[in-house]
Symmetry: C2
Subunit: 244 residues, 2 copies
């Protein structure tokens, strides 16, 4: 009987290939089967970070998820499409594992921090040995990009999604000492309005593609586009001059 | 005239030496002067993570911070002691930089996420070129240790300090979809009581020394000691079975 393979959910960090961990580097280099998510018709961001490690000897499992603008059938929600996508991905990865091959699923940032890997893990970890290798999540890369202390002492840090409503954003921002709003995309103008309405605009920064070659940073007050790339965030670092 | 050195604040990650980034590995290996913080009379946790990279050719700047149990002089607060410690550390590191030597300050986790590096950065970055290299912060290592999705979709993640009062903990926990409480130490019993009082005990985990050789995990309900190591946390992962 074949010994099943081992599933690895491996964070490759925020964008700079040198910010992946030594462990991620080793696992990707030494494991023939590497899987990753990508939007339909688009390059995979995780694969781009690991590109220098992938050789002709690697078998790549590209998992495409549907984009929100795709036409939906009658009685079909976007969530239905996603569930189908993850079920199908789990079947493909599960077949490789069942055949005795280890599979490394590479993920931008950290696998369990808003990462799609969790949907594979939820479907496979009861049948296969699975290990999660954490990665550097985007909020700390955003703080490094602006070189401002993110959170210190007894402060509360909140991580929010730009998809929240203005009121949800406002109440969460008002309650936190420091905050990072991820998933900006088309929500940039809304997030900016929420930040301004709770008087945090003067210490908020806009960070695009943190740590990557195309990184952009500026005060949020100067980020006046309506729309940002998905991989952008607003960082509101600690206001404390504690022990300055 | 001597060209001043470059200051690097380098996160070495949560404990497993293999979880430091490739960039951290390169900078520590190639930079002769390495600085780190340690409590008076105790080994440095950051140095322990990087121990395998430090050779006889490295010059080590050990920065001791006072412990809270030290006797204070009249009219002297613990904060005064810390400020003196950071001022002195900035002077020592600044002297090396001014003499033309690069200095790598290694930090557990991430340098700007509750890290002491920020106090050096605040004192030196106006005079010397400084770069922050992010690292894997403990909350994502905690989630990896228990292999539970930490936060997904549009959920809010809050990072809290165990030093907060029970009421502060309760209101922050009640407002978040997922939370991590760090700096447990002698606050474990209080944090557990707060978690229980907002009905989150059934999905809370206790994680000690995440990713390290001495890692311990268990349901928080089973962690009944009054006191935990400083490097322990409570992880309350997402309750959502979203797209399960």
């Amino acid at each position: 009987m074949t010994t099943p393979g081992h599933l690895y959910g491996v964070g490759v960090g925020p964008g700079d290939p040198e910010l992946m961990s030594v462990k991620a580097h080793r696992l990707i280099s030494s494991t023939p089967t590497v899987a990753y998510f990508a939007a339909r018709g688009r390059p995979s961001n995780a694969r781009a970070v690991a590109d220098h490690l992938l050789t002709d000897d690697h078998i790549e499992l590209r998992i495409e998820y549907p984009v929100t603008t795709e036409a939906l059938g009658a009685h079909q929600s976007y969530e239905d499409l996603l569930i189908g996508c993850y079920d199908d991905a789990a079947r493909r990865v599960g077949e490789r594992l069942a055949a005795g091959h280890d599979v490394v699923v590479i993920c931008e940032g950290d696998p369990l921090f808003y990462g799609s890997y969790m949907y594979l893990h939820n479907r496979l970890a009861d049948r296969f040995a699975a290990t999660v290798v954490p990665g550097i999540p985007s909020p700390v890369a955003g703080a490094a990009a602006i070189a401002r202390p993110l959170v210190c002492g007894t402060e509360v840090l909140s991580v929010l999604s730009g998809v929240l409503t203005v009121d949800e954003l406002k109440s969460s921002l008002a309650a936190a000492d420091a905050a990072v709003v991820i998933k900006l995309g088309r929500n940039l103008a809304k997030v900016r309005a929420a930040v301004e309405s709770v008087d945090l605009l003067d210490r908020a920064f806009y960070v695009e593609r943190a740590s990557g070659a195309a990184q952009v940073t500026c005060p949020l007050a100067e980020a006046d586009a309506d729309r940002a790339p998905y991989f952008s965030m607003v960082v509101i670092p600690s206001a404390t001059a504690f022990l300055r």
